[in-house]
Symmetry: C3
């Protein structure tokens, strides 16, 4: 593994190892970018939002096999293969019983499709810098040979989750957790003197607010029973959420994450909220009522954040489980959540009018729709002291999109309203590649501003350290 | 004519002939782009969608005059002149009886307006490479002298349609045809051993699905009478469409093209469809009913494509004939179809849930709204094996927009979900310029990825050949 | 002050003075850009839309102090400070009684936040080229020392408003005025033989068309009483607006400006308009009625422009006074007007169908939503002889966005449909910086087209002069 020694001291024949990868092609600007990158390339990794399982670090067992590590759980990867006609069942998605090595062969066979994609770039970086295998071999070598070689690598003690955390320079890692989770793993890790990364829970209550999803009634009943202080109805529901947030805070959480359907945040009065909640629990709420309730809860969560100071992150605008047939076969999070356009300005107005002027309320807005960056999010973040610009993510955390994000937001909001980089990943071994990518893209962007005499190189050097290191600590209250 | 000998061996004083035109300004990247371009610049032209008249090749008569060849039928050109205050009647639009040479003078007088436009670039390339006339003369020479010179050129035998087809390297050309067309010209051409390009019909049923357009009732009546197998009503209507698709397939068609108002594809049950169809034929359907029927038909056409394997292309989101006064005077397709924003994700969900998982169903999505590329189309094409990313077209087939398209789609969908280049043109002589432009833009884009060490040059060379040559053959089942 | 001698002959240690600032980093392209810039850098300033007070030039008094000159009235600056948690009251916003020097200290303390922003760039340019103070001192020097130094500078006779106008090369400056303004200051300035800039009023009737705003009823009553020719109701209302437009024209106005909520322009019949107007005056109109009335007035103003030839400018799509709490404390125009997405194509169709084909009607469309540039505005301006593409403004008049604007519009609409640069400013001393920025961005953009062999350098030189000088004169009928 070469990661631990930094990226720059490696000379391989693979272009994945080129020290100037992702930097601007213009030689003068590239030199500036190189110098800026040097300030941040070896800084620790701070990951304030992601989807890893904390049990991994508690048990610290070897990863099962290359397919289970790199392919099956990563819907960024499986969706690309699926678009080529591969059956998700053959990749082990949704618990299907696929042959691991056959799935690996499918992946290697389709490797050329990954050219130019974000996933392809991350995978190349992982092969080169984590597994010490030249990624060019994916295009030419025998799949089975690579499988065997990778299997050996991940069986080594220095490839256990904890050892990798150290190798990756992981300082903070937030997970995403159900409000009723007991957070025992987080407690174990926090109390373990041998384990230095901070693994923090994140409060994610979506399953308790979306009455149009299956399981809502059961979830809500269990929530109120467990944590409602004996109250029932809407009052008990709100109280239970407040109590569970407090429990999360007591276990180290600094943020609550909300994947809402749209960006509406209109409050309802209590009677109306109670009325709709009753219908939702009975399974008779209309679509409009369900969305009104969800909008009300977005407002209520902001209200709770004002009081308990959990950072609030919001990422609306995705049609979840778009393919009804695939959802039936494989369940959620299998690569067909598709973004759509929506209106943050109008939707968030009630929430921001009431809580937005408060600098202690941290409200990080994410989007899968680039068009809102210059039109809505930068103007909001450039005014409200509570609003922070979430890093471009999901479909737009790839190299060019990250550059467009900077270009679309900096003129109106500057650099100080940035959330810091978010990897949002289920793919553990992609973490260093993702963070390194963001550092390179920021170096490239800043180098252009310096080259165009819009910024001094000294100031750019301060800014890049702030973006990579100080921003996530400040915004996520770490 | 210099086209036939390739583009690169020409040295003229015109910048339109510069071998590096459209390539990146950075010298290192430009060298890479040059090498990539060399792999594809002389490949044959494959044009899977356009608006030429097949009769042209059957009769093979000389073109009438420069105005009729280059100006009157090309609403890309006439709209620019119109924006300067030129009356479309003076350009012969809509069958108006304009003096050809006077129209030509108007065009030459306004030539400076075309600087920086896609049409201007294509025209320059046509002058330079098709007519062997330095385009700089448009700015300085006498319009009448150029008219006379061009008239002589197009009177030559090597400027007849068939000779040009050979000079242009035309291998496949799809036309756009009414479902009741007898396709006699296509049959003649297919059976002509002297004519090598494949000229294929395309099934375009819009006139039979938009009940808000004039002529709908008559069109539907004729359709059912002609091909409904004796059935009446909605059943006969669907059967007639199926029959005519079969007829098209038997005459070489590989695709059906749909210019819908929006991207909705919600199916209706048969009784409701029958009810609305009756109202549409009686001229009493509401706007909402008309759009619901059109959405239903989008779904039904996908169903038919699943069964008969015609590639389905869709391009919603244009307000046709925007200027009511101009539509009254000049009719349709006269330069004032104006795009608007819409939602592909939600609208197409029923269709894709039912047919989208099928790799044999090829569904090519076009847009005039760039914002859906990264937000909706790349995520759809990066998951559904049926969905292909249509090339940027119409208002966004110009140089910078084509580059933005690559940048917006590649990170999520890679290169393998691309439709291949589509010229969509009514301007025959612009075909080589349009295809050459796309080759140069792709070379420029790929060269940057190579320069940024995101792709090896070897892989980029494979990709550019795939984009230009293999993609359109594969996607359009040629 | 170095401005008066041009920008290029200054060599300072500040990067704000670098002669190549904002030009492309590629050395070859930069050379082209330099040569293009030389054609326009010293041309006079033409400002067809802005928000300065004409009284300033009548009284020609010294500016009060640095804070009142540079901070308090400029909501571009105050919103950035507010986003860092500064209370607007401490900056003197909304008439609050803030300590001037303390406000200045707050600004200097937060100066690093302005890196990369449009406001930051303009301020740097002002320090360097207007006040002759190295802007790097903002980061390192004592705030009080700078305050004292600036106070001395602005007390000098050559820093009075009229002297600055000359130094800035101001030839035309349009203000924005209430329809009932007597325009006495404009008359005074026009009649003053010692004052050469043309200071023209602009008719801005928003306060008389938005019945959802406070004061509407009183405003309308006063309007009809003052100028309704004795008529009452809707007839008197329209007649009063016509009369006041005539009054403005007689005082030099060439344009009328409209900041509508959305882009709808559907006319109402007179009875319906009368009915809604009555409700609006009684304070009982619904939101939908208020918007229908506003849409009707957009149509009516186009009708009036057709008759009296005032240029019509339109800028819809902003949620005004987004923060209810801040609006209550500080009033309007305090930095929280936030854009949202809307549809120009559909909304403007009735207006354009009736008036759009008329080349004497000049209709300049602005937007805060970049996405409409390629999708809607360029196609509209590339067809309708009345439609002009407003310069990118407000949140998108920063450097990268101006470049994206050119890239998004030129392919479809060319350069000839451009409004000319609009500074839209309340910050007098930023005028040269803003205009200089647009000249540099245009030079950079055109240089790339030349470098890519899409345009000859000679033609680019003609175009840049047209963009900077001829376009605003032509479009705004100056």
């Amino acid at each position: 593994m070469t990661w631990i020694n930094g990226w720059n001291d490696i000379m391989s024949t693979s272009h994945a190892a080129h020290p100037d990868r992702l930097l601007p092609v213009d030689p003068g600007t590239r030199s500036i970018a190189r110098r800026l990158l040097a300030h941040v390339e070896d800084l620790p990794v701070i990951s304030p939002h992601g989807h890893l399982d904390p049990a991994m670090f508690v048990h610290d067992e070897p990863f099962a096999d290359p397919t289970t590590l790199l392919i099956t759980p990563d819907h960024y990867v499986t969706r690309v293969l699926h678009s080529a006609g591969v059956d998700l069942a053959d990749l082990g998605v949704g618990g299907s019983d696929a042959d691991k090595q056959a799935a690996w062969r499918i992946f290697v066979h389709h490797w050329p499709m990954f050219a130019g994609t974000a996933s392809g770039y991350w995978l190349e970086q992982e092969f080169e810098h984590v597994f010490d295998i030249n990624p060019d071999r994916l295009a030419t070598d025998d799949a089975d040979e690579l499988y065997a070689e990778l299997s050996e690598v991940i069986a080594r003690p220095d490839f256990r989750p904890r050892a990798l955390a150290e190798a990756f320079g992981l300082e903070v890692l937030a997970t995403t957790d159900d409000p009723l989770d007991d957070l025992a793993h987080h407690r174990t890790l926090a109390e373990d003197p041998e384990f230095s990364p901070r693994v923090l829970p994140t409060f994610r209550p979506d399953a308790y607010t979306k009455m149009y999803n299956v399981g809502f009634a059961e979830n809500v009943e269990k929530l109120i029973d467990t944590a409602g202080d004996g109250q029932t109805g809407y009052g008990g529901y709100l109280q239970a959420l407040r109590n569970r947030r407090r429990y999360f805070i007591d276990h180290g959480a600094t943020s609550a994450d909300h994947g809402t359907h749209n960006a509406d945040a209109h409050p309802l009065d209590d009677a109306e909220a109670q009325r709709i909640l009753d219908k939702g629990r009975a399974g008779t709420a209309t679509r409009a009522e369900a969305l009104a309730f969800e909008a009300n809860m977005t407002y209520r969560f902001a209200e709770m954040s004002r009081d308990d100071h959990l950072v609030m992150t919001l990422h609306p605008g995705v049609h979840r489980n778009h393919s009804a047939s695939a959802f039936k076969r494989f369940g959620a999070d299998t690569g067909h959540d598709i973004p759509f356009s929506l209106d943050y300005t109008t939707g968030l107005q009630p929430l921001l009018s009431d809580f937005g002027e408060n600098p202690d309320f941290h409200f990080v807005l994410f989007t899968m729709d680039e068009t809102v960056f210059s039109r809505e999010l930068a103007p909001l973040a450039g005014y409200y002291p509570s609003v922070y610009l979430g890093a471009p993510w999901w479909f737009i955390d790839e190299i060019d999109a990250m550059n467009r994000y900077r270009s679309a937001t900096t003129g109106a909001a500057g650099f100080s309203r940035y959330s810091g980089f978010i990897d949002d990943t289920r793919a553990y071994c992609s973490i260093p590649a993702r963070h390194n990518t963001s550092r390179r893209v920021d170096a490239a962007y800043l180098a252009r501003l310096v080259g165009e005499h819009r910024l001094s190189e000294d100031r750019a050097a301060e800014i890049i350290v702030d973006l990579i290191d100080s921003s996530p600590r400040r915004v996520f209250k770490l």
